[in-house]
Symmetry: C2
Subunit: 214 residues, 2 copies
């Protein structure tokens, strides 16, 4: 265990942490929460399992760091795609794209495994929810931004709509993950874009002399 | 183990099965999927654990029967409440009520534990989804029925909307379950009923010859 004891430069420590987190992500994806022991993670990464405890204190903290990492990656990608969406239809198209990537990237597998882990480790529950909060903030911003482009006032507090959308994503992704087939969810997203087109048409063509139509 | 060997009347067998299922539900609620062994379930119910295998073949089958049972109970209650709803606003009020009951009754705990169990027993995943299908059918019927009372055509295939609603329920219930506090979800349901009222107002006052008043 010399790596852990000698005083390494900060950069080296960061690198080691990143490598351990990566091994934890891989192990969660491949062996699930139940299989993600310090020993299994160390085997995946080819390092000594004592490094887990040296750098993270506990397997629990490491697994949360793994969830933080996949969340941060997905968030960066969501920002990129969603910030490019100028209106509701483009936003729904963007949401469909990143949703498919969520599944393909294994982020949903990691999240589903952590949610599963909350069963045997109940203190994980609030920690996972805390990590979902930034997604609600993100969705709130996206909704507020797109709302401003709509030809009608949106009668919904953006943060409440955002909670609903994040919960819907979670539900759809968990069902798809459990089922191992995305046919129904594909239809749901298609439906969303049809609805957005219809709403634009309907509200866009209301006799809206100023606000007269409402 | 004489109970299991001698040829008991059918009614007696049903009674025993029901008792075992009840013990499995209690054990899932109290000790989670990870704690729901044949031994623990037998201890909860005060019977010999061999009865589990005699009546259900495996713990897995028993746990699925437990999920079937809490689902069937909730479905009966949903039917009762939702069938009494004559329009969209009443339907949302009904959904709010039964959602709170879902949490209070422990059904969501049982479902969340089974979803967690799919982590260590992947073949559970499709079985759980199969048990969610009747809920999609149920929501499809409710949506189709209420759609007919709306003063405007609903541009959405009811079964697609139903999948979205069931996924939303699942997401909201899992988040609430993880968080252990229902404040956000309460706001979401409140929002739903406000939206329904607004939609009724908005569409009800469209210059739609004949439907004008609403």
């Amino acid at each position: 265990m010399p790596e852990a004891r000698i005083s390494t430069p900060k950069a080296r420590g960061e690198e080691t942490r990143a490598r351990i987190v990566e091994a934890a992500i891989e192990t969660l994806k491949r062996e699930g929460f139940g299989g993600a022991s310090a020993r299994a993670i160390a085997r995946t990464g080819g390092f000594n399992q004592a490094l887990v405890f040296y750098h993270f204190g506990s397997v629990r903290e490491l697994l949360l760091a793994a969830l933080d990492e996949t969340s941060a990656r997905r968030m960066a990608r969501y920002r990129e795609v969603v910030d490019g969406a100028g209106n509701l239809q483009e936003l729904i198209a963007a949401a469909t794209e990143v949703y498919r990537e969520d599944l393909a990237s294994g982020h949903i597998k990691v999240l589903a495994e952590m949610i599963a882990g909350a069963s045997s480790m109940p203190e994980l529950g609030p920690e996972i929810v805390r990590r979902i909060e930034p997604w609600i903030d993100f969705a709130t911003d996206a909704i507020a931004r797109v709302s401003a482009t709509l030809p009608f006032p949106v009668p919904v507090p953006p943060e409440d709509a955002a909670f609903g959308i994040v919960a819907l994503f979670l539900g759809v992704e968990l069902l798809t993950h459990l089922e191992g087939d995305g046919i129904r969810s594909d239809r749901l997203f298609e439906l969303g874009s049809q609805l957005a087109a219809m709403a634009a048409l309907l509200f866009g063509t209301l006799p809206a002399s100023g606000k007269g139509g409402e």
